[in-house]
Symmetry: C2
């Protein structure tokens, strides 16, 4: 039974972390809004029949299951497609890393929308500039430094975030780096030298055959200024 991913069709956004896992798994899936329109997404999202409704997309439907929250979807897919370790301690560690990525994603979003998603960027540009400076000068390095540290401390080596094999956390870290490079090319160029392990992992993930094929396909939505990672030159530097 093919998976159905319900997520906005115009952006990578949080749905991209799920898309990458599905692509690496090599499993069939329908990217519903892209293939059937936003109406199909809204219909499932707002359906009164769903007993486990999500506050927001992404939503994964698999048979009778309707699962929301990115990290939760990845917990489900990781167990099914060998994209996470089986042992409980390692499985929780993978989940912990993913949740930290989720926090990081929220912070990246809030750089361009500090006052709230309800207001246009143009109406919070001044606040965004102030927040962006803090993000570039402190938070970006703190987050990347944390990932570099956990790679360094991995008892099985710095090739993957958890143990000696690829997990969905590696795919998500790839996406973070790709997004940050798009949104903050200048700031990233500055901090990347302090995170050689993170960058090497990004490159390793990008070179995996299924991921490479996906990135080169029309299924990969180009990053743009509607998503989480937005390139506003005035926020970089």
């Amino acid at each position: 039974m093919a998976y159905e991913l319900y997520y906005w069709g115009e952006i990578e956004g949080r749905g991209e972390f799920v898309r990458l896992a599905l692509e690496e798994a090599g499993t069939p899936y329908v990217d519903v809004a892209r293939e059937k329109g936003t109406g199909a997404l809204m219909a499932l999202w707002r359906s009164p029949e769903v007993t486990t409704p999500s506050f927001a997309p992404p939503i994964l439907v698999h048979g009778k299951r309707v699962i929301g929250q990115t990290a939760n979807i990845l917990l489900y897919l990781g167990a099914r497609h060998d994209l996470a370790p089986k042992a409980e301690a390692q499985r929780l560690w993978t989940n912990q890393i993913q949740l930290t990525i989720a926090d990081f994603v929220t912070e990246v979003h809030d750089v361009h929308h500090p006052v709230g998603a309800a207001f246009y960027y143009e109406d919070q540009k001044r606040e965004a500039k102030r927040r962006a400076k803090w993000f570039r000068d402190e938070r970006l390095g703190q987050f990347l430094g944390w990932f570099e540290t956990i790679l360094d401390r991995n008892p099985r080596g710095a090739k993957f975030l958890v143990g000696a094999r690829l997990s969905y956390a590696d795919l998500s870290l790839f996406q973070m780096v790709a997004g940050l490079r798009y949104a903050f090319p200048k700031a990233m160029a500055r901090v990347e030298t302090a995170g050689p392990g993170v960058i090497a992992l990004h490159d390793r993930v990008a070179a995996r055959p299924r991921i490479r094929a996906y990135l080169d396909s029309p299924r990969r939505i180009p990053l743009n200024e509607q998503g989480i990672f937005r390139h506003y030159p005035e926020l970089d530097g």
Copy 2:
């Protein structure tokens, strides 16, 4: 072996969701920073020996395990103390609800710190007022409405969020309501009428013997203006 909770000793914060689970489980635990000082928290948090270091507290130590991220800690405790269903679908649903509470908690924090945690509240008061209005007028009702909806749709009745028994998600929802009432008494008084199921669940959790004893004990830190839920009258209304 007793659990050790590493979290700031002066606030409820995100650590409170873990404290409530430990209290309801009736299991011994050490609230390390409160009993041994913040230095003990910093020492574990910054220890280079930990192979699963956390980006931020709360951190739960259990034997050799060092586990971070609130929802991840609750996933671990839930399975061990019968505070979550055993079946995979229900376990994931509990996790999904907890992750949505985590998002909600971040939004509550961002009401008083929209430009960033690095700046004093006094230096972002104008922005906080703007964000607070959006939070009160839209987000608060959206979130509480979602919880009311999932209670209504629970096939086992509206007594608990998941199935027919208490889970850690119920404890966390109790904490959200308690915190929101403290921070936004006026706004909450307005929206509570639209969420009778949520309020009834809050009351039911508060009346559980172990939770009641905890709330009445000195272990429960009073809500204050250092934590996530802050009562700034200018942000309520």
